[in-house]
Amino acid sequence: MSETTKSILVYFSTLLGVGIIIFVVLQIGSKLQAPASVGGRWKLEPSNNQLALCVDLPMTQTEVTLEIHQSGSHLQMILPIDSTNLIFNGRLDGLQFNTMTGGDAALVFSGSLDRQSETDILSATLAGTDCQIPVSLIGVRMEERLLSEGGH
């Protein structure tokens, strides 16, 4: 066998091998389950009056938008209240999430994701020592992702 033929054989064998490896990795990977996607902006309901039982919400604020930054099961949720942001960090376990703020008077924001309906729904509870009662909230997804911003 000439040197050229041998080189061509080695080249095409390598290409074939690479193709097979990529195919196998893609097959294995297609069976992997990544955490559910919750990243994006969520419009929170119900009314601000109930949310005000937990946080100092100014009367001028008419809408509360929750931002969720996600990296795998790691979540960072940002709740903008007036000019400050409440930042919750935590994890997603299946469709359940549990996050909390840092500091002494920690607020806990936990709940679950409902993906059965046409639009994803976030059912959550905000609780903590500063809350008079735990506040139930429903979030409706406004957009898929927060692609251009930092955070989890």
Partner: protein, 427 residues
């Protein structure tokens, strides 16, 4: 509304930080561009936003970043054009078996290792809005990228361009660049067409027509400009305007087709006739403006998107270490083994692997595209940015240690001697 004063302040702060950090890195014998990349990271939430959040918010308010982003995108379009301009396909001809083997291996080995790494990372750092196929292909490409411009400057500064190592390295990096961008272009088309619901076949048809038009319609026009340049003996403003127009139109068309605007700019540079002084003058005209003013804006925006604080806890640092190990092992190992098989000594092979391991700015461009199209998450973006910085930072000292100091002791320059020599900006 555009607050011009805010924009000017931002540009000023970024320029000062980039020049100062770049100078500092030059002082420790590192390419200036690494300092500028680090300056970008430091201006973001990793340092400036962390130690002075209010001042950071005042200088870089979120709603003002759109203007900075637009400027940086223009800078990147110019940069990608320059990257294409530096590639000369004719130089790839007749480079022999060794160059072919190393170029293929330097892509395939890190690509495959990257795909295996994706098996581990996907359930941990991705979410189900991105499919495993896209995620793994992206990680594979991110691992395979080599910063051709950095490598070329390192070889040029050390007078190694015409050595066996230099020729193989340049050829390998050039093939690597073309392959990496091609795979990424296909990936971007796949992801965007899936998101927008457009026909994939139609997109590839458009891309095919566009490539043919670039080669058979635009290239002859660029040759005419070159002939005009030779007649005039200088690069006139009209010539420059025509070339820039080609770059912008090509970038616009490629963006419209669903591949990224950067590919269009890169392609114009790649099909540009590469004879004589024309390309050299064109490069000189655009390089300073792009490198000094616009690219630091891109570094700063990358820094604003990356936050080292996201790597909280050992688990995250373990993922980063894994990414770094796979990136280095895939690139250095894959290249070195192939080069050794091709007949180089182990020392030369290792040196080639080390050179190919530099990722630099090219990797940052790729990572920003990945974040934009939603294939990677912000925390993975941060880890990959740190990996790009680390692999670029380690290239020069490791190369000198393995090849320059030991293989050619007589030619080795002390840091003092090197500092006395004039050095240009390295991308």
């Amino acid at each position: 509304m555009l607050h011009l004063s805010t924009l000017l302040l931002q540009i000023g702060v970024i320029l000062v930080a980039a020049r100062l950090t770049g100078f500092l890195f030059r002082w420790i014998h590192q390419p200036q561009v690494i300092g500028e990349m680090v300056a970008g990271i430091l201006l973001g939430p990793s340092l400036f936003g962390w130690i002075a959040p209010q001042l950071s918010e005042m200088i870089f308010p979120v709603d003002s970043l759109g203007y900075l982003n637009a400027l940086s995108q223009i800078g990147l379009i110019l940069f990608m054009f320059l990257v294409g301009l530096e590639l000369n396909p004719k130089e790839l001809r007749g480079r022999g078996r060794l160059a072919v083997i190393t170029s293929q291996s330097s892509i395939i080995a890190p690509f495959i290792l990257g795909m295996f790494l994706a098996l581990f990372l996907y359930p941990r750092l991705a979410d189900d809005s991105v499919s495993f196929a896209y995620f793994s292909l992206f990680i594979g490409v991110a691992m395979s990228i080599t910063a051709f411009p950095v490598l070329a400057r390192i070889l040029s500064e050390r007078g190694l361009l015409n050595t066996k190592l230099g020729i193989v390295a340049i050829t390998t990096a050039a093939v690597n660049d073309i392959s990496g961008w091609s795979i990424l272009a296909v990936l971007v088309v796949l992801v965007r067409s899936a998101d927008a619901g457009t026909s994939l076949l139609l997109t590839f048809f458009y891309v095919g027509i566009y490539m043919l038009a670039m080669i058979f319609l635009i290239r002859p026009q660029l040759k005419r400009i070159e002939a005009w340049y030779i007649r005039k003996g200088m690069l006139t403003q009209n010539m420059l305007a025509f070339v820039l127009l080609c770059v912008l139109i090509s970038a616009w068309i490629s963006e419209w087709m669903g591949i990224h605007a950067f590919f269009g700019a890169f392609l114009v540079g790649a099909v540009m006739p590469k004879h004589g002084m024309f390309v050299h003058h064109l490069y000189e005209k655009l390089n300073d403006f792009s490198v000094v003013l616009l690219l630091p804006l891109f570094f700063a925006l990358t820094g604003l998107r990356a936050s080292i604080g996201l790597l909280d806890g050992l688990e995250m640092w373990f993922y980063f270490a894994l990414i770094l190990i796979v990136a280095i092992a895939g690139k250095i190992g894959g290249t070195a083994v192939a080069a050794r098989y091709g007949g180089m000594t182990w020392r030369e092979s290792g040196s080639l692997g080390i050179l190919m391991n530099t990722r630099g700015l090219v990797e940052l461009v790729l990572l920003n595209i990945g974040l934009d199209i939603g294939v990677i998450s912000p925390v993975l973006f941060t880890m990959m940015v740190l990996m790009a910085l680390t692999t670029t930072f380690m290239t020069a000292p490791l190369f000198e240690w393995v090849y320059y100091a030991r293989a050619l002791p007589k030619l080795y320059k002390t840091p003092k001697q090197e500092a006395e020599e004039p050095t240009g900006d390295i991308l």
